[in-house]
Symmetry: C2
Subunit: 331 residues, 2 copies
Amino acid sequence: MKKIMNDPSNVVSEMVAGLVSAYPTYLTQLPETTAVVRADRASMQGKVGLVSGGGSGHEPAHAGFVGDGMLSAAVCGQVFTSPTPDQIYEAIKASDTGAGVFLIIKNYSGDVMNFEMAKDMAELDDIKVSSIVVDDDIAVENSLYTQGKRGVAGTVLMHKILGAAADQGANLAEIEALAKEVMPHLKTLGVALSAATVPEVGKPGFELADDEIEYGVGIHSEPGYRREKLQPSKELVAEMLTKLDEALQFDATKKYAVLINGMGATPLMEQYIFSNDVFNWLKAKDITPVFSKVGNYMTSLEMAGISLTVLELADEKWLEYLNYQVDTIAW
Amino acid sequence: MKKIMNDPSNVVSEMVAGLVSAYPTYLTQLPETTAVVRADRASMQGKVGLVSGGGSGHEPAHAGFVGDGMLSAAVCGQVFTSPTPDQIYEAIKASDTGAGVFLIIKNYSGDVMNFEMAKDMAELDDIKVSSIVVDDDIAVENSLYTQGKRGVAGTVLMHKILGAAADQGANLAEIEALAKEVMPHLKTLGVALSAATVPEVGKPGFELADDEIEYGVGIHSEPGYRREKLQPSKELVAEMLTKLDEALQFDATKKYAVLINGMGATPLMEQYIFSNDVFNWLKAKDITPVFSKVGNYMTSLEMAGISLTVLELADEKWLEYLNYQVDTIAW
């Protein structure tokens, strides 16, 4: 294991301290926690608070999306480990200004359980809380750590859309309805060229040969659906978009957003080449995405790989929300 | 070599095509080139144009910094290879709206020569052109490809400061004077944990043992000044800041900006841990940077490593320029 760090058991606390030191105008750390909340809490007044989080190792998710027009707070669990309910509860309390709090939870059993417990704790305080479980990954059903499908990079688009709606004054019921409308139209598929190493474990989560790739891998090194020799970018894109097409039924009369997401160690050059193949494949179907973003948004430590998220914009307003001006570290 | 790509000889053209497809509202590709210019050229009217660029492989630099309030155009050479004068010339022409064009050149012999030739070509067209050569890397003198010191991540802060000044209406002579004032206060030092592989070469630029780190490495795998066993983040920071202190003579009565830059494959978690150690080291000297940013800004393909840039804010206006609102893909 070759990492820039100090004691492997302190990586999350040191990471949060470094993040807050570097971005004091964006983030404030909640006392006795590794949760961060917007530094300008005054401007959240009267709006529904949005809280997300989960295990660390997916940076910039989720703390990088805390800010004006996006999340109110993010809870940073230990690496690839759900944050504890009390930490989530503190983030909920810090995000409530009377309009209630909405939780955006990636679909991992630990996260779902702990966020739900925190919700119960907050409701005892008369804070109104509702939530969505994001399960955008189409790779496999019932993976390691998951009942159903995993929540991956599409979660960032969920943050963005709900964040814009909350900033524009949507109430808690409206946010919940919006999240439920968006969810079935949001699909992701990823591939890995190498695995991540959890600092406290010290060795990679899986091994791939020098010429091998894994399709459908999760963001915690969970197995995908096939291993084979690395294909050219065009072939990867064709396989991934064919599966996303099966899930979403692409239609040239509809509008789409795409998020091309680097897993951590994959350089932007490769992501842009992949992006070129995505646009070419879609163009052959008479589809030009109306919104796109390419970069590292939901990573898996130093895993090399890429994921492709497609969101069918079933409502014109969702595009406005995606384009809505925000001020965060990482959007 | 394990990369998401198609033909290794087409990586730059496919990268630029992917970038422009994904960000059509930001970037337009100049015909017959791999140079990109702001898509909203109308809003550049009357302002000094800023052009940068160099070999590809440093993404998001420089195309990611093209946009309102920052660069007008970026020229993307082949991987780690200077762009040709004719491509730079096209970028200069596209960036001139009558107020002249300023070139931000990283100090590599090929870049300096080719940007100067392009400047001569543009001057024959009666376009006023001036330039700065950025040589912020304090690691070594006269490296591979360089006479003097190398230009590295500090170049991004130069883009930002000059971009804000140009957007606020500074004329060409004022931009040149500002660049010359900033340059001696801008210093960077980097370390590598692994090397980059140029696609057309197919093997890493150097080899490090599993527990080895190289201090002072360049962004094209140029040698640094020492190899040794990887140290904890705190020790790396102490060595790097001690050298930066020697170069800048830190003074608690002065103000500083810091840029912590990932080299490509180093996850944000490690960058934030490193950031925490940077802030702690400086705090012990009674210095709290007034501006900071952490992330992948000037990379070296999939090299693992980090660089630390410190800018002494000798003029209060530079901080305003750093904080000035911009709209780019990657700032």
